[in-house]
Amino acid sequence: MKWWWGLVWLGMLMLVSCVIPLGFDPNDMNLSQWSGLSGPSWSHWLGTDDLGRDVGIRVLDASKVSLGVGILSMLISVSVGTLVGSISGYVGGRTDGIIQWVLDVLMGLPTLFIILMIQAVLGPSLYTVIGVIGLSSWMPVARLIRVEMIRVKQAPYMLAVRARGMGRITEWKHAIPAALIPIRLSAMLGVSQAILAESVLGFLGLGVQPPQASWGSMLQNSVDYMGVAPWMGIAPGVMIVSTILIINAMGDAMQEGSRRQIVSE
């Protein structure tokens, strides 16, 4: 159960990020000098940004936004994908054909620009970010679930369920848990993809709005000072990369675990 350690780390990050505003103000500005920028020092471990705000505290405070967006949009994409994919796989026939065609069409869309456009129209906020990322990434999940559903449908226990004759919806309900097993890896990848997507939106200034920080928006802020204050960009970048590495490693470990389970059965 190696992947528990990743969960512990992410949980701690989340906890620290929620607790930190109680002790420190992440938006505490210091404009006493002509520029707020200062390198890492004892009073500000990771330096300060252009407004004299502590980069370390802001990076930790931003964790809850980035992780939250990652997890919530993954939940949206997995739920929608499971619903659509399981119906497509279970019902089959013409319904399946139509849904597959729709998926084909949706996967051919230039998602980034549609997200940009929706954000520009709706006005950026935390909730639109979560919704937009979640609703634009469920298609691969649906594909995966569909294939799994077709396989599960033929399992002996499903024959037993069908033999009771409790109607198709009950049958469908019983098939879903089994079809969800291989989703774990893609759900983990979904979280890391969503964190990346959030950082892109934040970088374009379409993510959460200031003064609340997210890793992406901190990166955007750092671009103008890349030459004079590299610490502004390095801290959030390292947070993104390390978090995604950990989440991907958790996914790999989970898959390894489930493979061993199947072999031992």
Partner: protein, 320 residues
């Protein structure tokens, strides 16, 4: 075969239609009215109404969509609300840089995937393999725009090796050798950024594919006949390449989005940079044009990868 082509065509047209309808309705959902760019404070309410009538904005939405679509088919894509040039003119200058960046990125990814995949599958478990695995794992986790910024910060600003942004030196005569060289210099960093980002997933898949193929029975038989290891590998390569082609097609939307992102970091004057700017200035006609062109590029790319997949694997050809 023909059935497959028709299927592709239908879903491609579907994607285009969905893009058009979706963006059309989004534009009309947006707060504000296209009329506001045509009026000035001195106009009376009746004048504004007349402008609205002339633009057809008083008609129901579906009728507007219908008329707009008719214009589109006749080659009239509308006029940019920021530069007041026809959208087709605005887009025409931008397509080539985007194609240059995307295609060269694609080429680099493909070549490097083939090399790295074969190397890491052939020397599986060695330090070379582990090194490649490390690079690809980290490559998967780095947001490409951040990599771009870091590269600009170090390679361009600190070491002054390559230009940080732009397309070509505007002082050089267009079409000359120096001009081409200047484009190549400007291309280097965006290309590197895009390649590193796109490489990771494909290399991992390819390595896995070759390893799986190497374990199959027909290659066991080849080994039993005493074939040297590199020739066994050569047999595995062709069969392991098929999923690569399909995956490349599937990654295409992501690649295009990635190069749009990279364009706006490096101020590469392509569709992506234009699109990001258009989204911010709410230049919807341009944005819509870009959406359509991108969809078209993806559709064409998918069809190409489909065709390539059939060329690589005759089994697919026969079964369809």
């Amino acid at each position: 075969m023909i059935r497959r082509v028709i299927q592709r065509l239908v879903s491609g047209i579907g994607a285009l239609l969905v893009t058009i309808v979706l963006s059309f309705f989004l534009i009309h959902l947006a707060p504000g009215d296209p009329v506001t760019t045509f009026i000035d404070p001195g106009m009376s309410v009746a004048d504004i109404e007349r402008v609205k009538q002339n633009l057809g904005l008083d008609r129901p939405l579906y009728e507007q969509l219908w008329r707009w679509g008719g214009q589109l088919l006749q080659g009239n894509w509308g006029v940019s609300t920021t530069s007041h040039q026809p959208v087709t003119t605005v887009l025409a200058d931008r397509v080539l840089p985007t194609l240059l960046l995307t295609c060269s990125t694609l080429g680099c990814i493909l070549i490097l995937t083939l090399i790295l995949g074969v190397v890491s599958a052939y020397w599986a478990g060695s330090w070379v393999d582990r090194g490649i695995a490390l690079v690809t794992t980290v490559g998967l986790a780095i947001p490409s725009f951040w990599l771009g910024i870091v590269l600009i910060g170090w390679v361009s600003v600190r070491w002054n090796l390559l230009p940080a942004s732009g397309y070509a030196d505007p002082m050089l005569p267009v079409g000359s050798w120096e001009w081409t060289g200047s484009i190549a210099q400007h291309l280097a960093l965006p290309l590197l950024t895009g390649t590193l980002g796109g490489l990771a997933m494909l290399t991992r898949y390819y390595r896995h594919g070759i390893r799986k193929e190497m374990g199959s029975l027909y290659l066991l038989a080849a080994q039993a006949r005493g074939l040297p290891r590199h020739r066994v590998l050569a047999h595995a390569l062709k069969n392991a390449s098929l999923p690569l082609v399909t995956l490349l097609g599937m990654e295409l939307p992501g690649l295009l989005a990635g190069s749009y992102m990279i364009e706006s970091v490096f101020a590469w004057p392509g569709l992506g940079q234009l699109g990001v700017n258009a989204a911010f200035s709410r230049d919807y006609p341009v944005l819509m044009g870009i959406l359509m062109v991108s969809t078209l590029l993806i559709v064409v790319g998918n069809a190409l990868s489909d065709w390539l997949g059939q060329w690589v694997d005759p089994r697919v050809r026969r079964s369809s």
